[in-house]
Symmetry: C2
Amino acid sequence: MYVIDQKAPLDMPIPGLQHATWAGSDDGLEQMSVWRQTIAPGGATPPHRHDCEEIVLCSSGTGELHIDGQVHPFCAGQTVAVPRNVLHQIFAVGAQPMNLVAVLAATPVDVYLPDGQKLDLPWRS
Amino acid sequence: MYVIDQKAPLDMPIPGLQHATWAGSDDGLEQMSVWRQTIAPGGATPPHRHDCEEIVLCSSGTGELHIDGQVHPFCAGQTVAVPRNVLHQIFAVGAQPMNLVAVLAATPVDVYLPDGQKLDLPWRS
């Protein structure tokens, strides 16, 4: 399957986060997953890490990347690069939802919480 | 460097192709490169392959992915997934330029022409 329709992100059990998997292992990919997400104002990902790099392309809104107690602000027109195995959390700040595409260098993606527990993702990855 | 400004694609020695590297080894990445490209109507990439998957997010325009003599049309709102080491070529068709973001599961990316020669990319990857 070479050409895949891009689906709109849908509500997920994680509050304030909408998600659609645009490409991943279910599409025959072996090296990358593509996630399209919308984070509502005030919403955030859980703090987490994964054993692969993540690239976030922010297409609208304003966000913060939190790593090791440091806050890295970003907005539409910027790219966020998260190194592998670095604990991080992404917040949507400001009045508008934040829209992003995240590409992860693994598929499926194993995601871990700060206590080392594996996060049971509510979507295919 | 976690947050990187997205640059506008610029003319390159490959006719009809504008390019900007949005993220890659120069930014400290180890697993992925992100390329922002605009292909003019009638323009195309060279036929090529690389030892990593490529994901193309088409944001405007209409294109064709050519693989093994087969034509796979795509347009804005679709994602193209190219398996590793598969010879392919991307054409912009229609009247408008095609805008895309390509994510490759390597950095830097070694690109090879059909005869096996390494393509000397005119951009950092």
